[in-house]
Structure formats: structure tokens, C-alpha cells
Symmetry: C2
Subunit: 142 residues, 2 copies
């Protein structure tokens, strides 16, 4: 059985935060948006509909944690939250991954989608440490 690995493009564009029930959760390296990426730890998946019933139920639980994480990231980044965007696109990187993004009417892309909008902005080092720390504290220790 093939082993779960993270596509190098996703690895380069995001920071490892921790492991949820089904998914690895990562913070996108873009200081414009409180933006998480969930990767189901299964090799070879590309479509959301490939998840089994049990995996889909686990994904629901992970999305609840990810929602709290995205809201916490927004808080640390000083941004309000009006709406979550939860999406699987995968047009560029085929490996199944789900975006969880906290959005608000003053953000850089509102009301449009974030993908392909402008250029990612790097986190300042101190802010990145603060956001990553806050997110890791929301994951129960194994």
C-alpha cells in the first residue's frame, strides 16, 4: 500500500501544524488570509467523493477543529470573520486537500475567492510564530 506523503508544492506553500483525526492540517504561508489546508492521510486520493463513509465522518470532525483554528488564526492576525470558505479545488495540485479560510469584507479578495488572487504575502517572523503557536495549542496532544 502506498504511503501518505505531502505534495512538495503544498509542503512549500504551507507550514505543518499537526494531525487531526483524518487529516494533516497546515497553515498556508499567506499573511493576507487566515488559511488552513487539510490533507486526508490517504495515498492516491484526488476527489472528495473518494472518501469512505467513515472517512467522511472523520472529515466532518476535522472541519469543526479547523473552523476553530481558522477563527483563532484570524483573531491573532487581527481580522474579523464573516464567513468560512471550505473548498476542494485541486486543479493545480491533484492530491486531495481541503481549504478552510476565514473571510471578511475587508480582506484582500472579498467577495471573490482567494485562489489565484494577487500574490501571497509572507508572514513577519514574529507573527508566524504567534499564529503557529496559537494553532498548535488547539490540537489535543496525541
Amino acid at each position: 500500500m502506498a504511503e501518505f506523503t505531502v505534495d512538495p508544492r503544498i509542503e512549500a506553500a504551507s507550514v505543518w501544524i499537526g494531525e487531526l483525526s483524518l487529516c494533516q492540517v497546515r497553515l498556508q504561508k499567506d499573511a493576507r488570509f487566515p488559511w488552513l489546508v487539510l490533507l486526508p492521510r490517504r495515498a492516491g486520493l484526488t476527489e472528495l467523493t473518494e472518501l469512505s463513509e467513515a472517512e467522511h465522518a472523520e472529515l466532518r470532525r476535522d472541519l469543526h477543529v479547523a473552523e476553530q483554528m481558522a477563527r483563532r488564526a484570524a483573531e491573532v492576525m487581527g481580522q474579523p470573520v464573516t464567513k468560512l470558505n471550505i473548498a476542494n479545488l485541486g486543479n493545480i495540485v491533484a492530491q486531495l486537500h481541503i481549504h478552510v479560510i476565514a473571510r471578511h469584507p475587508q480582506d484582500a479578495a472579498w467577495p471573490g475567492p482567494v485562489w489565484g488572487h494577487g500574490t501571497p504575502e509572507a508572514f513577519a517572523s514574529a507573527q508566524k510564530t504567534e499564529v503557529v503557536g496559537a494553532l498548535k495549542s488547539l490540537i489535543a496532544p496525541a
Copy 2:
């Protein structure tokens, strides 16, 4: 208890196809993309994470039907399918709705997202009849 109704902007932008287990399914009026919209028949929902465990399991079943419908719409529209995009954004219309879109590298927005990309193109009348008929035939009669 408030009654389920469809936001008038969604109603204007799409065509009713039928009712799945949890969701009403509609075809977006945009001949550029095989694009369905699922609306959970619950009043007052805005976030995917507001669905109960049972509703989320129903949504999974609906997504399987919607995937087949999106692939069938693509076939009727003469488009290949490389990837599905499944997303809840809701930045403009708050009512919870999930987009299911069949994408391919020659489509108008690839590899970017479809939302906010260019201007929707109306279906020719005959094509709309054909697509709607093909989609309705995939829904089991009540």
C-alpha cells in the same frame, strides 16, 4: 420553525433540477461550466459545519449523485472532466450552498476558480433543455 426557501439570487442564477436526500440540486445558468449548486433544505444555515452528523452523512450521499450529474452535464456539453471543484464560499449569498463543478484544462477559468471569473454565458435554449433533461433523468423519482 422557519421554512426552507431559496435565496432569490441563487434562484435567478440557476435552474431547479430536483431534490436529493438532503439538498435541492440546481444547474447554474452558465454554459461555460458543468456547474451544479446543492442547497441543504434547512432554513437559516450558513456554514457547512452547522450540519449535524446525520445531515453531513446525507450530504456525502448527495455529493456522490451530484458528481455523477456534473460528469453527465459535462458529457452533454461536450466537455472532458479532469477534476471536480466542490466548495462552499457564500461570501455573496449567505444561504448555505455547495458548488459542484466539473473542470478541465481547456475550460474558461482553468486552473483558477470559476467564481468571479468573466461573465456567465447563457445556455442556448436547445442545449439547456438537453442538459436539464439529462440531469433530471439521474434523479430517482420520488
